[in-house]
Symmetry: C2
Subunit: 255 residues, 2 copies
């Protein structure tokens, strides 16, 4: 099993190391990850600037490739120029912090996996719901488990699995659930501050307000100590609204 | 009608000027746009760095606000700190270049509008299918028309309209169609080059291969001289695969 690994926390993060160590047990692993942290970059891709690739010695144990770009760049570069072939699966993570509900949109971790889905390669994104994770072992094992499951069952073309693991000891986790992307709202504001030269600057601050109360949704499941597995895709069409909008009679509009 | 305008080409682009001039006829316009071009940034949001906001005199005619961030940052900053209230609609564009099919994912133009949808504000993204647009008049008029239509008919919460206009004279455009996000594939590679110091660098290059042949899809409609109007949302859940994946019996998996 050929596995390409990326992330958004950067090639030196503890999460990608734990993931690579675990996935080496089930396949041939190549790590291609951002040189520096790329959180909340969304699905950015670098076109106006060139990229550089450097071999990077991870934890003095094995080589990976560091790219001075975004997570999606890393997937593309990994597949097109480093592997020069499609791997069997692309796994992105393990992220420090959950990527559930609305945060799925902003997530660099998800975008590295989604870039693979766009390229018709099965993919997983895996995150632990804490910014101060102490142990990635369980999440790494879950990633390996789902690599095997995807291999066995197959995944719809263009679909990826977005997996979120609570930051709890194994014995406190209640199980694994199939979920949907939850609804949430950022109650945010830019805090105004003044720099040492008397000029204003603004810093984003706020809290995520979850809007779901059912375990059917990723955010709620993770909050209640379940591992959440959400199949996502890149067809953004709102099919329900599309059906409703036939009543707008758009083709009858004159220019 | 209170209208917030943003884009990804930057506050000095011809597209945003044309859009603002036209929308002033139907409402009270505020422009909050990136200081510099932000194409293909996807739905990036700035959290690790502060933002600065500067009043910017557009074409020596009116003031807007330039933010040294991404399109999504501009929407958030515009709503939260500049307007300090929800506008009736957020309009993003007019983009130089189409944002159809897979490109919808990478688009900064779409992300500015999607950020509004996340904030429960109706939104439009509007693009002209050429990087060398000579006349934005028609696209600006179409944006104004759809602002009025959205006001009249309403839009599902969390949905935005992604509008793409062919770069053709009005008389050559065949009409307006309600469409879905098309399928396409980037046939791409990083071209390897060598810098003046003998070091390798890589530049993304490639062509978009459309995979649809029906006018039901945005890319195909625009290629065939129709204006394409696609309702999109930010629920990335692949509901079809979700239903199928019940057969994986995920809750029965042991940890």
């Amino acid at each position: 099993m050929k596995i390409l690994i990326s992330n958004d926390d950067g090639i030196s993060s503890a999460g990608i190391y734990a993931l690579a160590q675990e996935l080496k047990k089930i396949g041939d692993v190549t790590v291609v990850a951002p040189l520096t942290e790329q959180s909340a970059v969304g699905h950015a891709i670098t076109m106006k600037l060139p990229l550089r690739v450097k071999k990077h010695y991870i934890n003095n144990e094995f080589f990976g490739y560091a790219v001075d770009g975004t997570p999606a760049d890393c997937t593309k570069m990994g597949v097109r120029n480093i592997l020069q072939m499609n791997p069997d699966i692309v796994v992105s993570g393990i992220n420090h912090g959950s990527n559930t509900a609305t945060n799925t949109i902003y997530s660099g971790t998800v975008s590295a996996a989604r870039e693979a889905a766009i390229m018709d390669i099965p993919a997983l994104a895996i995150s632990v719901a804490s910014h101060d994770v102490t142990d990635f072992t369980l999440a790494a094992q879950i990633a390996a488990r789902f690599c095997m499951l995807v291999k066995e069952k197959g995944l719809t073309r263009g679909t990826l699995l977005n997996i979120n693991v609570p930051d709890k000891p194994k014995e406190e986790i209640k199980g694994i659930l199939l979920t949907k992307q939850g609804k949430s709202k950022w109650d945010d504001i830019y805090e105004k501050r003044v720099d040492p030269y008397g000029k204003d600057y603004y810093w984003l601050t706020g809290t995520l307000v979850p809007l779901d109360t059912s375990m059917e949704y990723d955010e709620c499941a993770v909050k209640n100590d379940y591992v959440a597995v959400t199949p996502i895709h890149f067809d953004l069409t709102d099919h329900e609204t599309y059906d409703k909008m036939h009543s707008w009679n758009i083709p009858d509009l004159s220019l």
